[in-house]
C-alpha cells in the first residue's frame, strides 16, 4: 500500500482532532494524580457518565451537546467533589494501592449500574451539523470533529487561565508541588483536593459530552480514553497539565497514523507499548519530574 500525502495529512488531522479530546481527559487525570497522588481508575467511567448526560439531555430536551456541556461542567464538578468528600478523603493517607483499588471498585460500580439501567445499546446523538462537512485542498473536514476540537481548545485555554490566574487554581498548583508547604501558607488542602477532583471529573465529563455528536455512547465508551489518558499522563509528565495537553495531541496523531500506515487494530496495543516504554525507560516523561521512587 502506497502512502498518499493527502491521505496521510488527513489522518494526521484526524489525530489532532481526537488528540485534543485526549488532552482534555488527560489534563483532568493528571491534575488529580499530581495533586492528590491518586491514580484515578474511575476517570473513564466518569467520562462515560458525562456522555450519557449529554445523550439524555439531547434525547429528552433536544439540547445540543455543546450547550449541555455548560450544565454538565458544574454537575460533574459537584459529583467529583462529593466523591472526594465521601470516599477519597478517608483514604488520602492510605497506600497508593488502596487508592487504586477504591477507584477500581468505583469503576466497576458505575459501569455496571449504567449497564443495568441503560443496557449495552449503542446510542448516538444527531445534531444539526452531524452530517455536515467541508472540502478544502483535497481534505475533508467534518463538522462534528472540527467543532468538538475547537470546544476542547477553548476548554484547554480556560483551564490554563484558571490554573494560572485564579487563586483557587494557584492553590491547586501549590498543593500539587508540596502538600505540607501549602498547608503552612494557609491553604486548606482538604478543600483543594475536593476542588481538584471536581475539576478533573468535570473536564472528563465535558470532554465526553462534546464528542457525543460523533462518538457512540455506551457503558464501555470511557475505557479507551482512560487507558490512553494513562499513556498521555506519563508521556507528558505526572501532574503537568500543559504536558498532558501537548501529550494528548501527540498520542492522537501517533494513534491515527498508525491506523493509517499499519493496521487499525494495532492502535491501542501500540499506545500501551509506548506507555510501558516511557514508564520503564523514561520515567520523567517528556517534561520533567521523576515518577520512580
Amino acid at each position: 500500500m502506497a502512502i498518499e500525502p493527502t491521505a496521510l495529512i488527513q489522518s494526521i488531522l484526524a489525530g489532532v482532532f481526537v488528540g485534543a479530546i485526549y488532552s482534555l481527559v488527560s489534563a483532568g487525570l493528571t491534575l488529580i494524580w499530581g495533586t492528590m497522588r491518586i491514580v484515578n481508575f474511575a476517570h473513564g467511567a466518569l467520562m462515560m457518565l458525562g456522555m450519557y448526560m449529554a445523550y439524555w439531555t439531547w434525547y429528552f430536551l433536544g439540547l445540543d451537546p455543546l450547550l449541555s456541556a455548560l450544565v454538565i461542567f458544574p454537575t460533574f464538578f459537584a459529583l467529583g467533589y462529593a466523591i472526594d468528600k465521601f470516599l477519597l478523603r478517608r483514604i488520602i493517607q492510605a497506600s497508593s494501592v488502596a487508592q487504586l483499588l477504591i477507584t477500581f471498585g468505583l469503576t466497576l460500580f458505575i459501569q455496571n449500574v449504567v449497564l443495568y439501567f441503560w443496557r449495552s445499546d449503542i446510542r448516538l446523538v444527531t445534531t444539526s451539523y452531524s452530517s455536515l462537512y467541508w472540502h478544502a485542498g483535497g481534505l475533508v473536514f467534518d463538522a462534528p470533529h472540527v467543532i468538538a476540537f475547537f470546544a476542547a481548545i477553548l476548554c484547554g485555554i480556560g483551564l490554563h487561565l484558571f490554573l494560572t490566574r485564579s487563586s483557587i487554581g494557584l492553590a491547586i498548583r501549590a498543593t500539587a508541588q508540596d502538600r505540607e508547604a501549602a498547608q503552612t501558607v494557609g491553604i486548606e488542602t482538604k478543600r483543594i483536593f475536593g476542588m481538584t477532583f471536581g475539576l478533573g471529573t468535570a473536564l472528563a465529563a465535558v470532554a465526553g459530552a462534546i464528542i457525543t455528536s460523533y462518538y457512540p455512547v455506551n457503558p464501555d465508551s470511557g475505557n479507551q480514553f482512560l487507558f490512553l489518558a494513562f499513556v498521555v499522563v506519563v508521556l507528558g509528565s505526572l501532574g503537568n497539565y500543559l504536558g498532558a495537553l501537548v501529550g494528548g495531541l501527540i498520542i492522537g496523531v501517533v494513534q491515527s497514523t498508525t491506523g493509517y500506515v499499519y493496521l487499525a487494530q494495532a492502535e491501542l496495543p501500540l499506545a500501551f507499548v509506548v506507555f510501558l516504554a516511557i514508564l520503564i525507560f523514561m520515567p520523567e516523561g517528556l517534561f520533567g519530574k521523576r515518577l520512580r521512587r
Binding site: 497506600s95 487504586l100 483499588l101 477504591i102 471498585g105 443495568y116 500501551f272 510501558l276 520512580r292
Partner: protein, 326 residues
C-alpha cells in the same frame, strides 16, 4: 527452629483444613448439582487467589494483571486439546511454564517500579496480551475456542456427566495451594520475601538480592494462577479472550484475598468462601449486572473499612492481644 510468630494458633489452621477435608465427604451424602457448581467456583477462585496472594502477600507487590496468567493456563489446555488432540493434563506443564516465563520477562523491567506504577504496568501488560489474543487466529481470535464435548473421560479431563470429579480436583488444588503457602511462610525463603515487603532497602543491606526473590515468587504465583485457568477451561469448555483475561477475571482473582486478608494463609480461602456463594446468590436474584455493581461496592467497602482484610483485622483486634498476654 525457634518458635515463630504464627499468625493464628495452630488449631485454627487445623480446623480450616479439617473443614475442607469434610467437604470431600459431604458430596457422598448427596448434594444438588447447583451446590457442587458453587463449591467448584469457590475452590477455583480460592485457589487462584491463593496463587495471587503468594506475590501480593509475601512481597507486597500488587499485580493487577493476573487474568493474563489465568488466560494463558486456560488457553494452553484449550489449544492442546482442540488443536493438537493432546490430553489437557499436559497443560499443567505447558501452561505454568509459559506463565512463569511471561512473569519473568515482564517482571524484570516492572519490578523497578514502585507500588501503583507497578500495578498500572501489570494492568497494561495484561491488556496488551488480551488485545493480541483478540486478533490472533491461532487461538481463535475474538471467536475463541469451543471444546468438542466428551461426556466423561479422565484422559481427556472432561466430566460433563458428573461434576463431582471437577469438585475433587478443585479441592485437591486448594489443599495443595494452602500447603504451598504454609511451606513458604515457614521457610527462610518466605521470611526474606516478607523482609522485602517490610523494607526493601533494609533487605538489600543484609544480602538479599531483592529483584531475584521477587522474580522467583512471581513466577511461582503465575504458575499457580495458570493452573487455575486450566481447571476453568476444562469445565466451561469454551474460551474467549474476554471471558478469561479481562479485568473482571482480575477482580475475581484478587477480591477473595483482599477481603480475607492479603498476606495471610487462610485469607483467600475465607474470602472466596464468602464471595463466591454471595455472588451466585446475587446473580440468581438480581442479575449479573447488579451483582458486578455490588462487587464494585464491596471493593470500596474493603478499602474503607477493613483495609487489611478480615483475617488480619480479627487477629489484630482479638487474637494477638491474647497471645501477647500469655
Amino acid at each position: 527452629m525457634l518458635t515463630r510468630s504464627e499468625l493464628l494458633p495452630k488449631n485454627v489452621y487445623l480446623l480450616a483444613v479439617g473443614l475442607l477435608v469434610a467437604t470431600a465427604v459431604v458430596p457422598v451424602v448427596g448434594l444438588s448439582n447447583l451446590i457442587i457448581d458453587v463449591m467448584l467456583d469457590l475452590f477455583l477462585f480460592a485457589f487462584v487467589s491463593l496463587g495471587w496472594n503468594l506475590l501480593a502477600g509475601f512481597t507486597g507487590q500488587i499485580n493487577l494483571g493476573p487474568a493474563l496468567y489465568f488466560g494463558i493456563g486456560a488457553y494452553s489446555a484449550g489449544v492442546l486439546f482442540q488443536t493438537y488432540r493432546i490430553t489437557p493434563w499436559a497443560a499443567f506443564v505447558v501452561g505454568p511454564a509459559i506463565a512463569a516465563g511471561l512473569a519473568l520477562i515482564t517482571g524484570y523491567p516492572t519490578f523497578k517500579l514502585k507500588g501503583d506504577y507497578y500495578a498500572l504496568a501489570t494492568l497494561v501488560i495484561s491488556q496488551i496480551v488480551l488485545l493480541s489474543f483478540l486478533a490472533w487466529d491461532y487461538v481463535g481470535a475474538a471467536y475463541g475456542l469451543s471444546y468438542d464435548i466428551i461426556p466423561f473421560s479422565w484422559y481427556w479431563f472432561q466430566f460433563n456427566t458428573n461434576h463431582l470429579a471437577y469438585y475433587y480436583i478443585g479441592l485437591v488444588m486448594v489443599l495443595g495451594a494452602l500447603g504451598l503457602t504454609w511451606r513458604i511462610r515457614n521457610s527462610e525463603f518466605g521470611l526474606r520475601l516478607m523482609a522485602i515487603r517490610d523494607d526493601e532497602e533494609g533487605a538489600k543491606s543484609i544480602g538479599i538480592n531483592t529483584l531475584r526473590y521477587k522474580l522467583v515468587i512471581s513466577m511461582i504465583s503465575a504458575g499457580v494462577i495458570a493452573m487455575g485457568g486450566i481447571l476453568y477451561a476444562q469445565y466451561t469448555l469454551y474460551l474467549d479472550p474476554n471471558s478469561t483475561m479481562s479485568l473482571t477475571i482480575t477482580a475475581d482473582i484478587a477480591l477473595p484475598a483482599l477481603l480475607g486478608g492479603v498476606g495471610t494463609i487462610l485469607g483467600p480461602l475465607l474470602g472466596a468462601a464468602i464471595i463466591q456463594p454471595l455472588e451466585w446468590l446475587l446473580r440468581f436474584t438480581i442479575g449479573s449486572n447488579l451483582q458486578l455493581a455490588i462487587r464494585g461496592a464491596i471493593f470500596m467497602m474493603i478499602v474503607l473499612f477493613i483495609p487489611r482484610g478480615i483475617m488480619q483485622t480479627v487477629v489484630d483486634k482479638y487474637i494477638r492481644p491474647k497471645m501477647v498476654k500469655k
